[in-house]
Symmetry: C2
């Protein structure tokens, strides 16, 4: 369980444990959030709940909201994307049933749950909460740049959507396995559900972006690590503002560059070449040095999911040779990943 973020950010601490809602989903790729929670927060999930037609499973026990409440669940988390942005009648019935059973409802969908009258009514009637993890908490302050106690690691990237969340989770797990005092600090919706709290950094007003990152990783004991989920890339022409505010406010001691070697252009913006890992290292040190002059690169997290084991090994070895820093794929783990962890903690 994460350390509390203080009075302000308590507003976004999610009630746990969870019941995972799978809706009537038949396609596993729509249930990524549920699988992510089952992978990374299994100890805080009592079971799963689907309605008629549901054909996917996380492997957790199936139960009704009432059974889940009995088993200790405090909220139902919508673990699936709704196709076409519309929440159907069957979902609404299920969510109302959950509230009647005493569960809050946690959502990362684009549609705000309280904009659906049947859900807003049920929430009022039952006294349960509809919690939208895409909405930042109120009262985020302007950044100050003040140096905070404790240690911080931030995952950064050559682009969006290539492993920054996964890398932060894997590093956090490795730190804990080594007996260190560490928290995973979530900055996006799935990460927030996994952590049980956090701040959706892309939804914060620009003026408060660095301030939000500051309250996300508050003062901590000197040997405590916050492992912070990165967002976007300082080279992404659409999202660099998010990335720079997060970098400045996180004041990381160490960063890990996440990269997908098959990605040649920025996702969705094909006129923009992907920056090299070296460019990201260099610019991150330059910009991050503003709030932490001691910032350093811990290594590279290489997403080798498109490659076979041998190819992946060769690719990582070549990158290690070329860059002269640890290179690992957290999904493959092994000695390479242990070396990356060593380097981050050095």
């Amino acid at each position: 369980m994460n350390a509390p973020l203080g009075a302000l950010a308590d507003a976004i601490v999610l009630p746990q444990p969870y019941l995972l809602f799978l809706g009537d989903t038949t396609e596993p790729s729509f249930a990524k959030t549920a699988f992510g929670l089952a992978d990374w927060a299994a100890d805080r999930c009592v079971g799963e709940f689907g309605v008629d037609g549901c054909a996917v499973s996380t492997g957790l026990p199936r139960m009704t909201p009432a059974e889940a409440r009995e088993a200790g669940a405090r909220s139902l988390v919508i673990g699936v994307a709704n196709q076409g942005g519309v929440i159907g009648e069957r979902w609404i019935t299920a969510l109302v049933e959950a509230m009647e059973a005493g569960l809050d409802v946690v959502s990362g969908l684009h549609v705000r749950l309280d904009s659906i009258p049947a859900l807003a009514d049920a929430a009022r009637r039952t006294g349960r909460r509809l919690i939208d993890v895409r909405s930042p908490p109120p009262g985020i302050p302007v950044g100050t740049g003040r140096k905070r106690s404790g240690k911080r690691l931030l995952t950064v990237g050559t682009d969006c959507a290539l492993g920054k969340k996964y890398t932060a989770l894997a590093l956090h797990r490795a730190f804990v396995e080594r007996g260190l005092d560490a928290d995973f600090r979530a900055t996006g919706q799935t990460g927030i559900m996994i952590a049980g709290g956090g701040i959706p950094m892309d939804a914060v007003v620009s003026d408060f972006e660095a301030g939000a990152a500051e309250i996300l990783s508050p003062d901590a004991p000197a040997d405590h690590w916050d492992v912070i989920e990165g967002q976007g890339s300082i080279f992404n022409p659409a999202y660099a503002a998010v990335s720079l505010g997060l970098l400045h406010g996180s004041q990381p001691d160490v960063f890990v560059v996440c990269h997908d070697p098959t990605r040649k252009v920025i996702l969705g913006l094909e006129d923009f070449a992907l920056p090299s890992v070296e460019e990201v290292v260099d610019l991150t040190i330059r910009l991050g040095g503003r709030t932490n002059p001691a910032i350093r690169c811990g290594g590279v997290s290489l997403n080798t999911s498109s490659f076979g084991a041998q190819e992946a090994e060769a690719l990582m070895a070549a990158e290690r040779e070329r860059l002269n820093i640890p290179v690992a794929d957290p999904i493959r783990g092994g000695t390479a990943f242990a070396e990356l962890v060593d380097s981050c903690l050095a």
Copy 2:
């Protein structure tokens, strides 16, 4: 009058001409917005309006809201700060009178006018609008980085509050005086009132920061200039996210660095040294090059308001010598400023 920003940003075009509201202000420094409007948008201000106790004047003719409406005014602009954040009874009576006379009310105050019941009621009753220039328009898209036609100049800074708005206004005026087709693009509340439209960049959600800057300076004829008001500084640990999103989305061909030689530390963050002009030039080219590889520095706008004429001249000459680029104080104008304009247009 500025060129339209297209359907989206039409939402923030302010009804002009204005009647300037001075409230019951006795202290000129609280009426900076009114003075700014009288200086830079005198042709779009029909007069000024104060209530009992008002002891400041912009020099514009005093008139009642009804007289102003008769003279063509379409909105009353609150040109003064309200002390302590409270809007008193006398102000409310005056603003209601303005709406009854047929004027919309434009405000840059922190308090939202529609949160004051008497004003919200009067707006409903009279059919007039309460326009808050601190609120960005709805529907701002994510940035694309797509190269737009026309030319763009952005003022950047070593810090906040040292002349970026003034410099952009002065350069825009100089461009127009030279017969060029140019628009001033406003990014802060006073600038928006002067321009009659714009986007309050610091209030935009981070994910859309670059996208907001993109719609602020849309495609234009090849020889058209948008002169864009800068915000913050990429070296400011609180506000760099705003500055980088604005830089990426503006894709400027030319930037001018605004600097106050008496400022040694970041305003309000005294542990942070002010960056040098050279550092700002270098990092702006590096970051801005991502969306416009041809970006270049046009020169330096030096705020010499703390110095006598001779000292200011010597200071500018020394900086010119040291940096080998044009250095001018737009408030002092003269040959130095003409050279800065030449350099921007070169």
